[in-house]
Symmetry: C2
Subunit: 146 residues, 2 copies
């Protein structure tokens, strides 16, 4: 009956743990200058065709905040700015090889964080779980929560 409240708490708890574990693992793999929020930017940039304004909308922040984030990631060597083919105002963003390496590290960290959970439930139940959650997940970008 009141599993609704329990569900909320569980999702928040899992999400928090996930972010924490991924961040720790990525740091340990040598990317110490990245913070959790950067992952959401990487996701949009690696999807391709992103400008700073696109990124801002994806992250749900102002253009200025996104520009600042991009500047930081460029300075640290994760992101490159290219001229935009159709718009002289805009610059197209892309990941450097280092940026892609960081993305791979994060993916691997996510898999490692989830692995014990899959083991705990068993593959069959875990697959069902993913299927159920897929039905619930909202479309649209994944953003930092707050």
């Amino acid at each position: 009956m009141d599993d609704a409240l329990a569900f909320s708490a569980l999702v928040l708890a899992l999400s928090g743990q996930l972010v924490q574990e991924i961040h720790t693992s990525v740091s340990q793999q040598g990317f110490e200058d990245l913070r959790p929020a950067h992952g959401f930017a990487f996701a949009r940039i690696s999807a391709g065709g992103a400008t700073t304004a696109d990124l801002a909308e994806h992250l749900g922040v102002t253009k200025q905040a996104a520009a600042q984030l991009v500047e930081e990631l460029v300075r640290k060597g994760y992101v490159e700015r290219h001229p935009h083919p159709h718009d002289a105002r805009a610059r197209l963003l892309g990941l450097t090889e280092t940026g892609r390496a960081a993305t791979r590290a994060a993916d691997q960290a996510a898999r490692a964080a989830v692995a014990p959970w899959r083991e705990e439930l068993g593959q069959a139940r875990f697959s069902e779980l993913v299927a159920d959650l897929t039905l619930l997940a909202p479309p649209g970008p994944i953003r930092p929560a707050w």
Copy 2:
């Protein structure tokens, strides 16, 4: 096979949506001066026996940050400081009636956010889902993710 990555994304997406919906709903119910992070503080305080230092540990921030948060919540009328029965240094924190009202509003908002998901899956499958997640959820406090 690679549902692990999908699972991570789903949990993050659901968590983000959940936080956003709860915050919006709580604001609309008249608590416009509360932000998502406050909920985690309310959770610890309403559990009882909390001092500022306890709260700091629960939230994973410094004592000073917790003290500042408490000061803000006291000023806004959600929290009270009481003398600690056994320790003259410490002050025991408690929710005011307004604080409890805000907590009820947040709970109701959480239920409302989850309701459509339960409907989508059906009660039986939803219950299973909650049971599965319960197996995975780490013990310990629920904290803001980053």
